[in-house]
């Protein structure tokens, strides 16, 4: 919402000089109307003044430039060189003087043009950031001047260079010289020399001067423009509908242009929260400002003369068929409409509020919307069949062409404004082209209605046309506002003299006003705020905001649909007492002890261990593409494919909730690989999502590790997993070969077990999966259930006395079948060695020379100790013998 500070002064006396942008913005923001930014419109338009053209001469060195002397309200005239052809002696023009700043960002400096001094520049509409919507009269038409003719083919000109007055160009079109020129009502009155005779002619073209040679159509009595000559633009390069903005305003040389076009204003942009649609207009913000600055709010009740007499009820009727979607429909009628540009003050305000002026009637609807916050619509009543307005939902396959020229197919949930046959507008969104106000519109029906916000929003979204009106309606407007708004529109019609208002108002308001009445409960308000405010303070704030307070009863004003509870009253009081005045202190004693849960501590610990191992933490999206399951080779019947599916995803890639975290890790590893990062070692503790019968999800966490790089292999990943488990103090894990996990290399994959519980899987990613990711490298991953890790986590360690007697070590090497897993041999060794064998560590596995094919040599280092005495050699040999015996029995392993 843009607020003009100049306009605001009409309602609240807050002059810019006294309340600068900063203090205004700060005060409004802390009272609840947040200011985003304030723009000083004049900041981009400086030192541009009104000038009167005293004289003009051709530039001595140019065939298309003029040297002007201008009165700019100073002692001496200013000389300016211009290339524009639409300027005449006596014209008032905007003059950018030396040092001027234009909205285009251009800075104007004195200089010389082809040797002639020029102390500034004349401005076009565009250079002042204006269009012909702002100043319709400044539209420029241009005649084709023969001296400007540039033939397309130099060798075959359509008009000879030697052409003179009276020569024939084609058919009835002759060359003619301007011998006299004088401004007239709508253009210029010319006397043209046609060689044999002189004729008088009228032209709207603004680019003619004495001695110009033009093309004159003797049959139509018209000075020819480009289209009359069927000429292309480049044949007459200076015949363009652009030029200097010739002022027809009540201004004098030296006046500031910024003030003339209303740029002596500061525009404040507010961020209005969706609960306060009442602040989307001048009056609403003025009310907030008045309370904020403790000033009087000057409101005005519109007065309508209705000089056309008659009675609208005899001419029109309104039937609201959907009273829940249209709570109120108010209408008035205007006869003998005269469409014209609206006056400068109205155009200015419309422009400064960020809209474009169109014509008096359209401008009035926009003006009232900005002033009252009530969207208005004006129909050409002659286009309303049967004189009846029906507010109803669209019928199947009904269509309408909206004002923007687009044909639209309506659906049955869209509320429409219709006549007896067809829609003439999409309610609250946009009018129909079939009832558009045009130049010859004579009878206008002003609609000021209240529509259901949700319905309007859905219609606007479905049609893809969020308009100023719909964006207001969708927040839910005050039905009480429609009457005042339509009155104001009619008052403005009379003020602008753009029509005669018909007597009477149509006002269909089926359910009538619903008033909210609350009890003022000061103790509850103070209890919420932590304040000690008395009733008069609260009452005063509420009254200034438009609430009626009678004893303990508070009547909420109709425009405050957001206030429906005592806590809302508390906020009103707090806003103007000042949020920052509320004491900052702890009123209660802290009665909770807080702290991390065991799960949270475990999660932290896992993170610490992973980082200690050199892994970087990643965060990945919870949703993935269904195609990712194919990428990781998941079988078609895998239960993991049964994902929660988002029905309205942003795209396929983010359309299902992951049931496995592996694709997320592979995605990130692949990305890093493609970025040519030499290595990556990553971890994530993330959730997966599994359907539950009630439609919701189980969302367990998985610890996901992943890496690639020159130092990576299966055992590095396994080492990480072992370190992780050790760091968590779990019992000793077992690793079992896993050849059937479709995502992992069948020969380099293991499941991790503690007791009978499987914690997860680790290994090298299957080369087939790597192909799916188009990566020519080895990825290693592990996925461990966080829940299982948490369960397996060891408790507080219990101290064991340090050994009193030394340990004895013996190394053994055995030869066995290649297929025997060393892990199993280790377990057997420990079992056979008894309690005095305290450790068994593999230190070599060898195949090759001296070893029969299909067999391998495995070397173990055995550590033995007796807790109660020094272990003797005999005892040690005995243990080794038991171990060897067991290995032989179980695996056929022979001592090497």
């Amino acid at each position: 919402m843009n607020l003009s500070r100049k306009w605001l002064n009409e309602f609240v006396d807050l002059p810019l000089a006294e309340y600068d942008d900063r203090s205004f913005a700060e005060a409004m923001t802390v009272s609840g109307s947040k200011v985003e930014v304030t723009e000083d419109l004049s900041a981009h338009l400086k030192n541009v003044v009104v000038g009167r053209v005293l004289s003009m001469e051709h530039h001595p060195d140019s065939d298309h430039m003029w040297v002007l002397q201008l009165d700019v309200g100073r002692d001496a005239p200013v000389q300016i060189v211009t290339g524009a052809w639409n300027v005449h002696e006596g014209d008032l023009v905007p003059v950018a003087l030396d040092g001027a700043l234009l909205p285009t960002g251009a800075e104007i400096r004195s200089g010389s043009l082809r040797g002639v001094r020029s102390d500034g520049m004349l401005c076009s509409l565009k250079e002042l950031n204006l269009t012909t919507h702002d100043y319709a009269y400044a539209a420029i038409r241009a005649a084709a001047i023969l001296g400007d003719y540039h033939p397309l083919d130099k060798n075959r000109p359509s008009i000879p260079a030697s052409i003179a007055a009276g020569d024939k160009i084609f058919g009835p079109v002759l060359a003619a010289e301007v011998t006299r020129i004088r401004p007239a009502e709508a253009g210029w009155e010319l006397v043209l020399d046609l060689g044999a005779e002189s004729v008088k002619a009228l032209t709207p073209c603004a680019n003619l001067h004495l001695c110009d040679l033009v093309a004159y159509d003797t049959r139509q009595g018209k000075v020819c423009e480009l289209s009359d000559l069927h000429a292309e633009q480049k044949e007459f390069p200076h015949c363009i509908e652009d030029g200097i903005f010739i002022l027809h305003e009540d201004v004098r040389p030296g006046d500031d242009i910024a003030a003339m076009i209303g740029c002596d204003d500061h525009v404040v942009e507010f961020e209005i929260t969706p609960n306060r649609p009442d602040c989307l207009c001048m009056i609403g913000l003025a009310r907030e400002a008045a309370v904020t600055f403790n000033k009087e709010l000057k409101l005005h009740t519109p007065v309508v003369q209705a000089k056309a007499g008659g009675d609208i009820n005899a001419l029109a009727s309104v039937v609201v068929e959907e009273p829940t979607l249209c709570r109120r429909y108010t209408a008035r009628m205007v006869k003998n409409v005269k469409i014209a540009p609206s006056p400068a003050w109205m155009r200015e305000r419309i422009r400064n509020a960020g809209m474009r002026p169109i014509n008096n009637l359209v401008d009035i609807t926009n003006y009232v919307m900005m002033e009252y916050g009530q969207p208005m619509h004006a129909f050409d009543f002659s286009c309303v069949k049967g004189g009846e307005i029906h507010v109803r939902c669209a019928r199947p396959d009904e269509t309408i062409q909206t004002l923007d020229g687009t044909g639209r197919t309506l659906t049955e949930n869209m509320l429409c404004i219709c006549d007896t046959e067809k829609p003439v507008g999409v309610a609250g969104v946009m009018g129909g082209a079939n009832s558009e106000i045009v130049g010859d519109t004579a009878m206008v029906l002003f609609e000021s209605a209240n529509f259901d916000g949700v319905s309007i929003r859905r219609t606007a979204t479905a049609l893809g046309m969020r308009t100023d009106a719909s964006s207001r309606y969708e927040k839910g407007l005050d039905p009480e506002n429609t009457y005042a708004a339509v009155q104001r529109a009619c008052e403005l019609v009379e003020l602008l003299g753009c029509g005669e208002v018909v007597e009477g108002v149509i006002d269909v308001y089926p359910a009538g006003r619903r008033e909210t009445v609350l009890r003022l409960e000061p103790e509850k308000i103070n209890a919420l705020l932590g304040t000690d405010l008395d009733v008069p303070t609260m009452t005063a704030i509420l009254r200034r905001l438009g609430f009626t307070v009678e004893g303990e009863t508070v009547h909420v004003p109709s425009w405050r649909g957001d206030v429906e509870h005592y806590s809302d009253l508390a906020e009103e009081v707090a806003r103007f007492y000042g949020y920052n005045e509320i004491p900052t202190r702890f009123t209660g004693a802290i009665s909770t002890c807080g702290g991390f849960t065991p799960e949270q501590l475990c999660e932290r610990r896992i993170g610490e261990i992973c980082r200690g191992l050199g892994l970087d933490e990643i965060i990945t999206y919870s949703f993935i593409s269904p195609g990712y399951y194919d990428k990781i080779n998941l079988p078609a019947d895998s239960p993991l494919r049964d994902s929660l599916r988002i029905l309205n995803p942003l795209g396929e890639d983010t359309s299902i909730m992951r049931t496995t975290i592996l694709p997320s890790m592979l995605e990130i590893l692949t990305r890093n690989y493609n970025y040519r990062n030499r290595e990556a070692r990553l971890y994530e503790i993330g959730r997966t999502y599994h359907k539950r019968p009630d439609g919701l999800a189980d969302e367990p966490k998985t610890v996901s590790l992943g890496a690639y790089g020159p130092e990576m292999n299966f055992f590095v990943m396994k080492g990480w997993v072992e370190e992780l488990l050790e760091g968590l103090g779990t019992a000793k894990p077992r690793f079992i070969r896993e050849a059937s996990n479709p995502s992992y290399h069948p020969g380099r994959c293991a499941t991790v077990w503690i007791g009978e519980k499987c914690l997860g899987v680790l290994g090298q990613i299957h080369p087939r999966v790597m192909r799916n990711y188009s990566v020519d490298a080895e990825f290693y991953c592990a996925q461990l259930s966080f829940g299982a890790l948490f369960e397996a986590q060891g408790g507080v360690p219990v101290f064991k006395p340090l050994p009193k007697y030394p340990a004895v070590t013996r190394d053994i090497a055995v030869i066995c079948d290649l297929a025997v897993p060393v892990g199993e041999m280790e377990e057997s060794i420990l079992a056979a060695g008894g309690e005095r064998l305290i450790d068994c560590a593999v230190f070599d596995v060898y195949t090759g020379t001296h070893i029969v094919q299909g067999r391998k040599s495995v070397a173990f280092s055995l550590t033995m100790r007796d807790e109660n005495q020094t272990l003797t050699d005999e005892h040690a040999e005995e243990i080794v013998a038991n171990v060897l015996k067991a290995l032989k029995e179980k695996y056929g392993a022979e001592m090497r």
Binding site: L529, A574, Y579, R585, T592, E679, R687, A697
Partner: protein
């Protein structure tokens, strides 16, 4: 005899001082002082002396023994010292060569910030609670006073799993307020960080998945004063002592009164600069008193208990903390990014 001892002394001391290593020193000691050594040899001849001379010679011999021993010891120390010096010289390394590293991994920058915030609240007696991301619309919206028809419930804004819009991906962490009020004993002091989802296309400031931190206190006699005091403290912990804050009215359906907390721009000190978009203030979080209707809806009597709640976006906080300019970097997980923190 006296002369013999004198000779022995001169020869021994010279030999000792000239010896080049500890081993030859030991040989010296044996040669001169050993059982079969030269001094012993001289003393054997004591029998030839008169009884008068014996004590005198004995004393001399003892002095000589001591002197030689002392000299050997001094020389030994000097030789050891020199040897150590040489060793030190040989062992000298180029300290500018790189160290042998076993690099630590890095916590994701956003979780760095999250952990910092968790620690702040833990220190104030809060607990951390966790809850579902696949959520009932009832919890994500209705119980939070967000009616049917509210724009945020549209399919253009929220991800849904069922045609009847009954189950969605939570769009905010605020449903954790409801879960906490429904299941936890009073009083409650909790924060609930987590993932939330909205239908926003990915760009430099938007992501369909992002993180929020919800916080809530429910107790007897809790007021907006507590809200201000606690959040001021939190902001001071995050942004440093002396951070200037401002509370300004705002709107959230589930709190009333509602506010937003701004901090004065640290870059310009409130004058207005590009960092704060000229406003002088930077928005940090939204908060408010838990709406009495929401309390009542969770079975808590608003006449006995009151509460306050807040919510803040984690991504923006982390981006501000580390001056990260593009949200996409957070979820891209490029190790060159991760290893900067």
């Amino acid at each position: 005899m006296k002369e013999m001892m004198q000779k022995l002394r001169d020869a021994a001391l010279q030999a000792i001082l000239e010896s080049e290593d500890v081993d030859s020193l030991e040989a010296m000691r044996v040669k001169y002082l050993g059982k079969k050594g030269e001094l012993t040899g001289i003393l054997r001849q004591m029998g030839k002396l008169s009884p008068d001379e014996r004590p005198q010679m004995g004393q001399l011999a003892n002095q000589l023994r001591e002197e030689i021993e002392e000299t050997i010891e001094t020389r030994r120390r000097a030789l050891n010292e020199a040897k150590l010096e040489l060793q030190l010289l040989q062992e000298t390394v180029d300290v500018t060569l790189p160290g042998e590293k076993h690099p630590m991994g890095h916590k994701h920058p956003m979780y760095n910030v999250l952990d910092q915030i968790k620690d702040i609240f833990i220190g104030m007696g809060f607990e951390i609670v966790d809850g579902p991301e696949v959520e009932l619309s009832d919890y994500n919206f209705t119980k939070l006073n967000i009616d049917e028809g509210h724009p945020s419930r549209e399919w253009t804004d929220t991800f849904y799993f069922t045609d009847d819009s009954r189950i969605c991906l939570r769009t905010q962490t605020s449903p954790m307020q409801i879960h906490a009020m429904e299941t936890r004993p009073l009083p409650i002091r909790m924060i609930a960080p987590g993932r939330v989802y909205r239908k926003d296309e990915v760009d430099a400031t938007h992501s369909p998945m992002f993180h929020q931190i919800e916080g809530m206190v429910i107790d007897k006699g809790v007021t907006m004063s507590d809200l201000k005091a606690t959040l001021n403290l939190v902001v001071e912990k995050i942004y440093g002592k002396g951070t200037v804050t401002r509370f300004r009215p705002h709107h959230f359906p589930f709190t009333e009164p509602s506010c937003e907390l701004d901090i004065q721009c640290h870059k310009c000190g409130g004058k207005g600069c590009p960092t704060c978009k000229g406003e002088g203030w930077i928005e940090v979080l939204g908060a408010g008193m838990v709406h009495p209707k929401v309390l009542a809806g969770c079975g808590i009597d608003p006449d006995v208990y009151s509460g306050w709640a807040f919510g803040m976006g984690l991504e923006r906080l982390a981006m501000g903390e580390y001056k990260i300019t593009d949200l996409r970097l957070i979820f891209e997980n490029d190790v060159r990014f991760l290893e900067q923190f």
